[in-house]
Symmetry: C2
Subunit: 338 residues, 2 copies
């Protein structure tokens, strides 16, 4: 037996001995659970006992490690969160990695450790996987895909009541933290306030709403495209106008500073642990109380409402008393944010 190599080689993706050993000694060992352990061609899952939600995301974030998280945590939270805001309880994830030849084994070990920890925290099992290797210069360290399935709650999405004028839009916390942290890491800007990524599972935030008896009319996590992207989706998909109040939108002071410095709109920056939910006006306070009782929901706020005017469009009432139309980011401000 030769000792395990210190860097990823092309052979680790060949399906031969090196692949076999990498899976056995790293992935299977760190991620172990009774469904993954047989390492078959497919994971065999119990009958779910309900309708399913399924979602997929690839993660190509650069740098791989940033204040408050890394690509491994992001890969679990991103997919878990898409399931949670779809009204499902996340249960199983698949994990597929594309490694670049020459990646230090130590880096991979650290990322797999993060994946394992995040899966434990979110209460999901990583049940099946795949490993590929590309030549040096044909990838960038590590790309990760996770695909998740979860069981849908009864009664969500709602069919009993359509969204209407007056419904309130709520945000569970400050927006743009993750995007700002990655941007700062890349540009080597030092942030004075110790800002970290908001990267976290939102399962507790979603659960808290349902436990408080609030069934949202629409729920999303504002990742790529930021709050602006989700707001545009709300207006377009519902065919109603949406008014946001700039003053009401929680933004961390560090994010504000960075945005002023580099000329980016905080509403275009990605979050990785926030929920945006639409609910009936009379339920808004109950929803906010439920969120504020959680550490992750301390800064929760009512940020806007559906209106009869300008159907399909979003208007932002600025802090200076003006109003402007809010649009999706058009160009690439922040490539590889997740």
């Amino acid at each position: 037996m030769s000792p395990a190599p210190h860097r990823i080689q092309l052979g680790h993706g060949s399906g031969g001995r090196l692949t076999h050993e990498l899976i056995r000694d790293l992935f299977a060992r760190r991620l172990r659970n009774p469904i993954l352990d047989p390492l078959g061609d497919a994971a065999l899952l119990p009958e779910p006992g309900g309708r399913l939600a399924m979602t997929t995301d690839s993660f190509v974030v650069s740098p791989l490690f940033f204040p408050g998280g890394d690509i491994g945590q992001l890969a679990v939270h991103g997919t878990v969160n898409d399931l949670a805001v779809s009204g499902a309880r996340p249960t199983y994830l698949s994990l597929a990695v594309i490694l670049e030849e020459g990646l230090p084994m130590e880096t991979l070990e650290r990322v797999v450790g993060s994946l394992a920890g995040a899966a434990r925290e979110a209460g999901v099992g990583i049940v099946t996987g795949d490993t590929k290797v590309v030549e040096r210069g044909k990838g960038d360290g590590i790309f990760i895909n996770t695909t998740g399935v979860g069981v849908l709650r009864e009664g969500f999405p709602r069919s009993d009541r359509a969204p209407r004028t007056g419904d309130a839009l709520l945000a569970s916390g400050t927006v743009g933290d993750h995007g700002a942290v990655v941007l700062a890491s890349r540009s080597e800007v030092e942030l004075a306030g110790g800002l970290v990524s908001d990267c976290a599972p939102v399962t507790d935030l979603v659960e808290a709403l349902f436990e408080a008896g609030v069934v949202p009319l629409f729920m999303r996590d504002p990742t790529r495209g930021g709050l602006a992207g989700v707001a545009c989706d709300v207006a377009e998909q519902l065919g109603l106008g949406l008014d946001l109040e700039e003053d009401a939108i929680p933004v961390h002071p560090d994010v504000m500073t960075l945005c002023d410095l580099v000329g980016v709109d905080p509403l275009h920056l990605a979050c990785e642990g926030r929920v945006v939910a639409l609910c009936a006006a009379e339920e808004a306070e109950r929803a906010l109380s439920a969120w504020r009782a959680l550490p992750a929901g301390r800064s929760a706020a009512r940020i806007g409402a559906l209106v009869a005017d300008h159907a399909g469009r979003v208007t932002l009432a600025t802090r200076y008393g003006g109003a402007r139309r809010l649009v999706r980011p058009t160009a690439e401000q922040l490539p590889r944010i997740c």
Copy 2:
């Protein structure tokens, strides 16, 4: 409105306007089905009515197009086949692409067309997706991840009867065609016999076994690592010896020629449309007849049997009357075969 760009830009992965348009005008249009169409954060699936199988695979094949197939077909077949040999009826796939900045839009359109055609052929719906873009030189044209779920057949995997000495190992067709075609494409070797990749869904081959009343004791598709890899898995996982007969293993003459030319073992080359199944000796002829009745199973053959000797190891009886131990490929012979 500016016209759609001719090449992939970083903005296509930003979650902004370009991403939105790429998804709407290409992916959603070509792959459309009632579950994908709402384009939510997650696909909402009906209750499956049984146990599930789940599997994931990333595809990084180079070149993207090869005789008999391309990365799009491969990405559907690879995942469908992992579900089929696990005893499941493939139902839903997720699709996640990592595009390299500068990829011609025409190439992407061709690949998405292939994905759509292959999904139709295999009877699966692509129900959710993700698009990321990395900078020029940080990827290689297009990488694809598909993750699939399917509903498991009752009674498989078998719990009524363990594999035992005398059980027969069957191959549904010639081995190594896909690996040889990709190798030839890359080395610009011209093959005289018009060899094409065996890339295809194996769902009909698997269905034919069950319809013939044969419930395999073990089933796999010999992709990376080839027949040798699967044979080693059989012996190791069952803790029994496995004897293969070189003369009985169907190999296309072109594959043989290429292997002689470049010094590769055809048993190490990947297949992308073959099944290897273990069944009771008395069921072997019935299984082979069922396969041979299908165009894809014309060359099906009994290639070996479980033996009492050399537990956990595979022996190949060579065509010259000798015997050698068969091992997994140790080094990287063929990077990026799928």
